[in-house]
Amino acid sequence: MTEAITLQTPLSDGDVEKLHAGNRVLLNGVLYTARDAAHKRLHELLQAGKPLPVDLRGQVIYYTGPTPAKPGRVIGSAGPTTSGRMDVYTPALIAYGLKGMIGKGPRSQDVLDAMKHYKAVYFGATGGAGALLARRIKKAEIVAYEDLGPEAIYRLEVEDFPVIVINDVRGRDLYAEGVRAYAKT
């Protein structure tokens, strides 16, 4: 398999356009976590034309709700949650300037269209590898919506966080291509 591409966040349009479905990427820098409840709030703010609690332009959102950190650790287990649940909130975030998302599972056509139009990329992290992935998180702090507990927005600092490009700006879909290659029905 080909070598991984090392990328630093925040991401530019150029960074995003260079990526192809199937590329392995090692992400470095800041990621922001957000899942269902936080996305609902962010979406309501965007609809009302109000500022977000965190400037997400150029940034990458990681769909995760971590377990609490054991004493002496940065974070608990933190693997990806199912991205599809955030689909309805995502096109507006991409239009606003979000450049990348990390999760697992396929995205809706609306999300893919927004990614193509505004230049954003969707990465997959290995579902279920919460303890393994947490090792790449070097710093974690809640920056918004602390009342949401595990669904709060965390600012993470990551080192070589391993992901794979699922959807690129050209409309390719790694899930569809993979299943086609191995399906016997």
Partner: protein, 280 residues
């Protein structure tokens, strides 16, 4: 009459919650190793290796395998001759869940009302099923059930004329629709018969079986083998990225049902089948 203290129930439930989340069963571990050997997709092999490494980290460091430490689904088989003292069974279980999820640094993933959606803060209440059985023991099984697989589950009220072919179609459709979402390789629980809710419960109970064990009824065991083949033919593979190992097992449980019904439920479990049991 044998007495069992509510406080003892609380203590074991707390322990089971933690162990279920930290320690993958040896049968699941072996099934993942087997899948790794048989997988043809290089990406698929890579995913399986990561999952095995992840399980080892979780076990040795006593941390959760997955951030979704789930809702606690608790099965209590209560012997008819047991007398529980010092509190109610359900309170003892819920106190145990709160304790286990707090002391075990597990995630609090329960909202108090499905529409209001305010986190209860302690992962209670658990979903509890109590069955009365002969004898004087209390068997408790705690299953940590995450949303990934659960959300991809489904139920269909088939017609008797749909038959086994109809069942196979529904199971495969459900698995295909799920794709990558339930973190394949999955374990598929299939419940057939009973009434609508019974079929769903059968499907969940089907997940509490050691991988490699088949239904005692030869026809149902054959259906399990056929379904596993059909599911793996979908090509979904580990992490849904394409491959030959989409499911580690398909388990079927059946129950008598109405002459006019054929209820089929499919409960999808991710590869991390996390459940532990104890006999009090």
């Amino acid at each position: 009459m044998r007495e069992i203290k509510a406080s003892d129930i609380t203590a074991v439930v707390a322990e089971l919650c933690m162990r279920a989340n930290y320690e993958l069963g040896d049968d699941v571990h072996d099934a993942l190793e087997d899948a790794l050997a048989r997988e043809e997709s290089p990406l698929g092999k890579d995913v399986l290796s990561q999952l095995l490494e992840n399980a080892e980290i979780a076990r040795s460091e006593q941390v959760p395998m997955c951030q979704d430490t789930g809702v606690a689904v608790v099965f209590a088989e209560l012997g008819q001759d047991v007398h529980i003292t010092g509190g109610s069974l359900s309170e003892a279980i819920n106190t145990g869940v709160a304790k286990g999820y707090s002391e075990g640094y597990l995630r609090k993933s329960v909202v108090g009302h499905p529409l209001e959606r305010k986190n209860t803060g302690d992962n209670t209440p658990a979903v509890i099923y109590t069955e009365t059985v002969p004898g004087d023991r209390l068997k408790i099984t705690v299953a940590a059930k995450g949303a990934g697989g659960e959300n991809m589950s489904g139920i269909s009220m088939l017609k008797p004329s749909d038959g086994a072919e109809g069942v196979k179609r529904f199971v495969v459709e459900t698995v295909k629709a799920a794709g990558a979402n339930p973190c394949p390789p999955i374990i598929v629980g299939v419940g057939i018969g009973g009434a609508m809710e019974k079929a769903a419960l059968l499907a969940k109970k089907a997940l509490l079986r050691r991988i490699g064990e088949h239904n005692a009824n030869p026809a149902d065991a054959e259906l399990e083998r056929e379904l596993l083949r059909l599911v793996n033919d979908t090509g979904i593979g580990p992490a849904g990225l394409g491959g030959r190992m989409t499911a580690l097992a398909v388990n079927v449980e059946t129950y008598p049902c109405h002459i006019g019904s054929l209820p089929v439920a499919v409960n999808i479990q991710c590869h991390a089948a996390r459940y532990k049991e104890v006999m009090l």
